[in-house]
Symmetry: C2
Subunit: 337 residues, 2 copies
């Protein structure tokens, strides 16, 4: 005998949502066409479908077949690509992703989270720069809503996808050391979430291993985590008198390159620039940006798959999926002169 | 006497959604905290709120306080910014935008549309490259769901926000004519939706007015509407032997510039490049891209406001809101040598 047929199979065969099937089979299908209702009953009989505990719990929990995705900025290349990955998986499972871009606004993030919960979402992917797991758990309260944390969190705990930020930072520092740079600046965001702390610690530890001294007082420059932030920091980088700069992410690096260009500083001839992320823009700016690659689309796919697993299996255990990082050498870094 | 208090006012004062207020006032508020319920009843009494026809119809229609937004590609700078505009308005009205990116896949678009309708969305913003209004109306069927069309549609009809694409095309052509260019290529998408048809007609009409002949057989180059499409078309543009090229949008133009750079062609010294849209990347590529500006964020805000008006007023009349276009001259175009 084959595998037991589930409500999800029936939904897939009929080309409708699980909610539709469950409503029709529970006698609440008045709002669907006769044709759809007939099809569902026919498939039920044909495959001998019997509602099981999971299906019933799905109905009892009033599954909305929606998952919430909270990101800092949907129009950024990084999160745009991440969300695309989530969408691919959701679409395949006939789930709808509710996407929220809260622009690092704590109140708005919590607001969105409450609104999603009001709508009985099945699960959440949270890339929040402001919310702690305590806050998240408080808002979720007694509801049994699984969630996955991603990227910009202050806590590295709970089920999550991640890349090795410490290793990424090391790779970046080693690359600049290999090119002979000794005077190096770091461009970092004003507030360090856990992934940035890791990234920058890896970078600094590796500099130390290479006996390169970092002038923390002058050469660690704080700036908003954006193209504009990098652009506005160009003067400070020039003033630092360095031969290379490592920007916290590619957006900052691309902004910094523009700022340097407008001030007549040649990249990489005068200053080498190193980014982090490998967003799709890196190959379209000139010079093309050397960076540490995170597999952004795969991270979105991985986070969504992990969440769906959690939703379907009611698994309680913490799970962690790690993705690799690697150096992508392009044109914005060169041997020191 | 002041303005009549609506359910929306009560919701705003209480900091909860309209759905929450309506459920509590209709005795279906068990799932909300006692504190929230008390607050709502107190506000009702304090402001003498009486349910009116609109509020009741809102309840009868089972408003989900969600609006659907269908775009070709959420990770593109253009639609990312557009969606941000929609989000600003939705957030202010405590509506949730359901964002779908269907990658110009007709089946997927129709699929998403059906799924949104199943979830009782209150309205729709559709920037679809594949769906005709006939298709949309067929899927919406008897449901009373208002929608706004935007950008990439084959039909220019129905309530919509738009920019003057014909005028934008004229501005682009006049700029290149003013710089003395006579040999000009056009890079256009494989299939022309209405906005591109307008844009390119305006461009060609204006060339004609300036007595510039366009070699349609060789100098109108078809390519996918993407950075990659523009990049891959670089060889064809070089082969055409032109001094200037007008790309259908900025993504294509930025890809084309990369392709030309890799082939050793200098922009604008050897070929001037002109884009269309004014996406945020234009200032970060080098040379900075000359383009025709569409107010992208404002288009998102305008579309969302128009849709909310339609939802709240049950207005049947077709409405059109026009936004201006303008030439933004940067560094990728120069006088012909």
């Amino acid at each position: 005998m084959g595998k037991k047929v589930t409500i999800r199979d029936i939904a897939r065969l009929a080309g409708v949502s699980v909610t539709t099937v469950s409503q029709i089979l529970n006698g609440k299908g008045e709002r669907f066409s006769q044709k759809t209702r007939d099809k569902i009953f026919k498939l039920r009989d044909e495959y001998g479908y019997v509602p099981d505990f999971n299906a019933r719990s799905l109905i009892l929990r009033q599954s909305s077949s929606m998952i919430g995705v909270l990101v800092p900025n949907i129009s950024s290349p990084f999160f745009g690509t991440f969300v695309e990955g989530v969408q691919h998986v959701a679409q395949h499972e006939r789930m709808i992703p509710l996407i929220f871009s809260a622009d690092r606004n704590a109140e708005l993030e919590q607001n969105y989270l409450s609104q999603m919960l009001e709508r009985s979402i099945d699960g959440l992917i949270i890339a929040s720069a402001t919310m702690t797991t305590d806050t998240i758990n408080r808002i979720i309260g007694a509801r049994d809503v699984p969630y996955i944390l991603f990227d910009q969190n202050y806590a590295q705990e709970g089920t999550r996808v991640l890349t090795d930020d410490y290793r990424g930072g090391e790779l970046a520092a080693q690359h600049l050391a290999d090119l002979g740079h000794k005077k190096i600046a770091i461009l970092e965001p004003n507030e360090l979430s856990e992934n940035f702390t890791q990234r920058l610690t890896g970078f600094q530890d590796c500099l130390r291993k290479n006996h390169i001294e970092l002038d923390v007082a002058h050469n660690v420059i704080k700036a908003p985590l954006s193209r504009r932030g990098g652009y506005d920091a160009a003067a400070a980088v020039i003033k630092a008198g360095v031969t290379a700069a490592f920007a916290g992410n590619d957006d900052m690096a691309i902004g910094l390159m523009r700022g340097l260009r407008e001030r007549g500083v040649k990249v990489p001839d005068q200053i080498s620039i190193m980014g982090y992320d490998d967003i799709y823009l890196d190959e379209y700016v000139s010079p093309q940006l050397t960076t540490i690659r995170q597999p952004i689309m795969d991270l979105g796919i991985g986070a969504a798959k992990m969440l769906l697993n959690k939703i379907h299996s009611d698994q309680e255990q913490e799970q962690i999926q790690r993705f690799p990082v690697e150096l992508v050498q392009r044109q914005s870094t060169a041997r020191v002169r």
